[in-house]
Subunit: 359 residues, 2 copies
C-alpha cells in the first residue's frame, strides 16, 4: 500500500525513462548522471575518481585518484594473488594507515580503505597527470607493472607513483598476504559544467551512501549531513528547505533489496517512502520527481536494462490518467518513454524556470 505515492501519481504525470539507452544496464554512476541531465555516454568518470568519491574522499582539482588492490607477491616479486586473499576491511584499514600521509617530492599521498582488499590512493601536488598506465597485470605469475607515462607530460606522475609503490613494498613487506599494492584507473576529477552554473540552481544532496554523495559533489551539489533512515533524510530536507532550491534525496533500500532478490523487502522500502512522503508534501515544493537510477528486479538480483518508472508533479504538469505509481501505470503515462536526461529540462520547465527558445 502506497496511498501517498498513488495520490501524487494521480495528480501528476507519469512515464518511463531509459537511463542510458534501450537494452543497456546502467551502473549507479551513469544512472545518476542521466537523472541530473548529464548524458552518461558523454560524461565518463575514471575508476579512481569514482572509488574516491565513493568513500567520501574530498577530491580537489588536480588530485590524481587511483583504485588500489592489496595483493600478494612471492619472494621473486611475482604476483600470486591479485586480491591478497580478500583480507578483511579491518586489516585493509590498518594497512592503509601505515601508508597514508606520505610526502614524495612535495606530493602528498592519501591512502584510504574501501572494502576488503580494495583501497584508494590519491596523489595531491603540482604537475600531476592521469595519463599513465596501470600496474595491475590482470594475471598472476608476473610482477606488477611499473607505472608508465602515456604522454611525456605524465613522466613526473609516473615517477611519483613508482616511488610510492617502492615505499609501499617496503612498508608492507612483513604483512603477507597483503604485501604489495596494485594501482589502476589513474584519473582526475572531471571538469564538468556544474548544476548551479547549468541550471542556475542552488542544489543540495541528501544521501546516506557515500558514493551518491560523491556523485552529487561531482556535479556541484552541496552535501548535507543526514542520518541513514528515510525519516532522517526527510528531516534533513525539512531542516534545510529554505536554504536551497533543488534537493536530491537518495533512498538506497529498494535497490539493495532488489540486489538481494528480496521482493517483500523492496515493497516495504517503497511503503516506508510512502509514509514519509506527507512531511515532504507539507513543504509544498513546486516540482516533485520520483524515480530511480535503474531497475533492479528481484528476479534478476541485479541492475537491469528495463526502463524506470517516473512520476513528475507540479501545478502545471498536465496530469494524465495514471492513478497509481507503478510500471504498468507509467507505461501509458503522459510523459511517454523518454531518455532520463530529459527529466531535468522537464523539471525546470515545470518550475517555470525556462524561457522560450527562439522568438
Amino acid at each position: 500500500m502506497k496511498p501517498n505515492l498513488d495520490r501524487l501519481a494521480t495528480q501528476g504525470i507519469c512515464g518511463l525513462i531509459d537511463p542510458v539507452a534501450p537494452g543497456i544496464t546502467p551502473g549507479s554512476a551513469p544512472g545518476h548522471l542521466a537523472l541530473f541531465g548529464y548524458d552518461p555516454l558523454e560524461f565518463n568518470i575514471g575508476r579512481g575518481v569514482l572509488e574516491a568519491v565513493g568513500v567520501d574522499f574530498d577530491l580537489q582539482p588536480g588530485d590524481v585518484a587511483t583504485r588500489g588492490n592489496f595483493c600478494t607477491i612471492d619472494s621473486s616479486g611475482l604476483v600470486t594473488d591479485r586480491r591478497a586473499g580478500r583480507i578483511s576491511t579491518e586489516k585493509c584499514t590498518e594497512l592503509c594507515r601505515l601508508m597514508d600521509g606520505m610526502v614524495i617530492d612535495g606530493v602528498k599521498v592519501f591512502v584510504r580503505p574501501v572494502k576488503e582488499h580494495r583501497l584508494i590512493v590519491v596523489f595531491r601536488g603540482d604537475r600531476l597527470s592521469s595519463e599513465t598506465g596501470d600496474t595491475d597485470p590482470q594475471q598472476t605469475g608476473v610482477p606488477p607493472k611499473e607505472v608508465k607515462a602515456l604522454i611525456p607530460q605524465a613522466e613526473y606522475m609516473a615517477q611519483i607513483a613508482n616511488e610510492f609503490l617502492n615505499r609501499a613494498r617496503g612498508i608492507l613487506s612483513q604483512h603477507h598476504p597483503a604485501n604489495m599494492v596494485l594501482l589502476r584507473g589513474f584519473s582526475q576529477r572531471p571538469h564538468w559544467p556544474a548544476m548551479p552554473e547549468v541550471y542556475k540552481l542552488k542544489p543540495a544532496a541528501i544521501a546516506s551512501y557515500p558514493m551518491y554523495r560523491g556523485l552529487a559533489r561531482l556535479v556541484g551539489m552541496d552535501i548535507l549531513t543526514t542520518g541513514s533512515s528515510i525519516d532522517n533524510e526527510i528531516a534533513t530536507l525539512v531542516k534545510n528547505y529554505r536554504d536551497y532550491d533543488f534537493f536530491f534525496i537518495h533512498v538506497k533500500g529498494a535497490d539493495a533489496a532488489g540486489e538481494d532478490g528480496d521482493y517483500e523487502r523492496k515493497v516495504k522500502v517503497i511503503e516506508e517512502v510512502d509514509r514519509a512522503l506527507p512531511a515532504l508534501l507539507n513543504l509544498k515544493p513546486e516540482v516533485i520527481v520520483v524515480t530511480g537510477d535503474h531497475s533492479t528486479p528481484a528476479t534478476l538480483k541485479a541492475h537491469s536494462w528495463h526502463p524506470v518508472p517516473v512520476l513528475l508533479y507540479s501545478k502545471v504538469c498536465r496530469s494524465d490518467k495514471a492513478m497509481e505509481f507503478s510500471e504498468s501505470a507509467c507505461l501509458t503515462g503522459g510523459l511517454g518513454h523518454i531518455p532520463a536526461t530529459a527529466l531535468m529540462p522537464l523539471a525546470m520547465a515545470n518550475a517555470l524556470k525556462l524561457t522560450k527558445y527562439g522568438a
Copy 2:
C-alpha cells in the same frame, strides 16, 4: 486467427518501431539494417552493391558493382528508350550471357540478369575504385555519358568501364531494341563492423529471397540453404539450431500481399506463420523477436512510414498487458515506441549477454 502469436504476445512485451524515422518510408535494405542494429541513415549501401547482393552475387572485397539497364540507341548513338522496351527477363538473361566473362587488362567482368531490362555488371581486379560517375543520362535524345573518374585514383576504373561499354556496344549491335547498356551506382561492398564482431554472436540467415540473403551476408551472417515455404524455413531452423546462436528468419509473403493490395492473403500469410510457430517454440529459444522491416498496408499497395509492431519474448522481458499481436495492442505495449535500431540491444539484454555500463 493467430492463437500462437497472441499467446506469445501475452507472455512477451510488445511495442512499435520506427525503422528509419517517423514519417520515413523505408526500403527493404534500410529496414533490415535497422533491425540488425545498423542505423540506416549512417550505413548506406550503393545501388550497384544492393542489386548485386539482390541476385545472390557473391561480392568480394574490392569488386565494383554497378546497376545496369539495357537501353535502345539510334544510328547516331542517341538514347531513344532508357529501358529497351522493357525486354523480357529471358531476353535479358540471354544477352547478359553474351557479355559475361570478359577480361579487360586483367579485370574480370561479370554480367548478370536481374529482371526485365535490369542487369548488374561487376568488375573484379586490382586498383578498382567506385568513385566514378554514371553513364545513364536520365533522359532520351542524348548519347550515354562516358564513365568519368570523380577522383584521380578512379581513372583506371573509368578506362576499364568505358572499354567494357565499347565492347558491349559491339556485342549488342544486332540486338535492337536492347542494343546498348547504361551503368549507374558504381559501388563497393561496405566495410562495416560485422554482427559476429559487434555482438559476439554466430548468426545465420534463413531467407528464400536473394536480396535478404544478400543483406544478411553484408552484416556477416552465414546463409543457410532453405526451401521457400514458411514450413521449409522452420525446418531449416530446426536442422541448424545447434550450430548458431542467432537466426534471422525472413517471411516474404505478408509484404508481397500488401504490395498487391491483397488484405485477405496478407491475413493468410500471418496465419501460416502462426501455424508454424510451435515448431520454433519447441526449440525453446531464450529470446524471440517478431517484427517487420516496414509496414506495407494493403490499402496503399506499397511500403509505408507507419511504425511496425514488434513482439519480444524472453523469461526476463517484463511482460505487459498486450494480449494479442496487433497494431493496436502494440501501441500501448511495454516496449513503447522506439527506433528499430534499439531492438538488437534489447534482444541482447534479454539474452543476458550484455554487461553493466559503468560502475
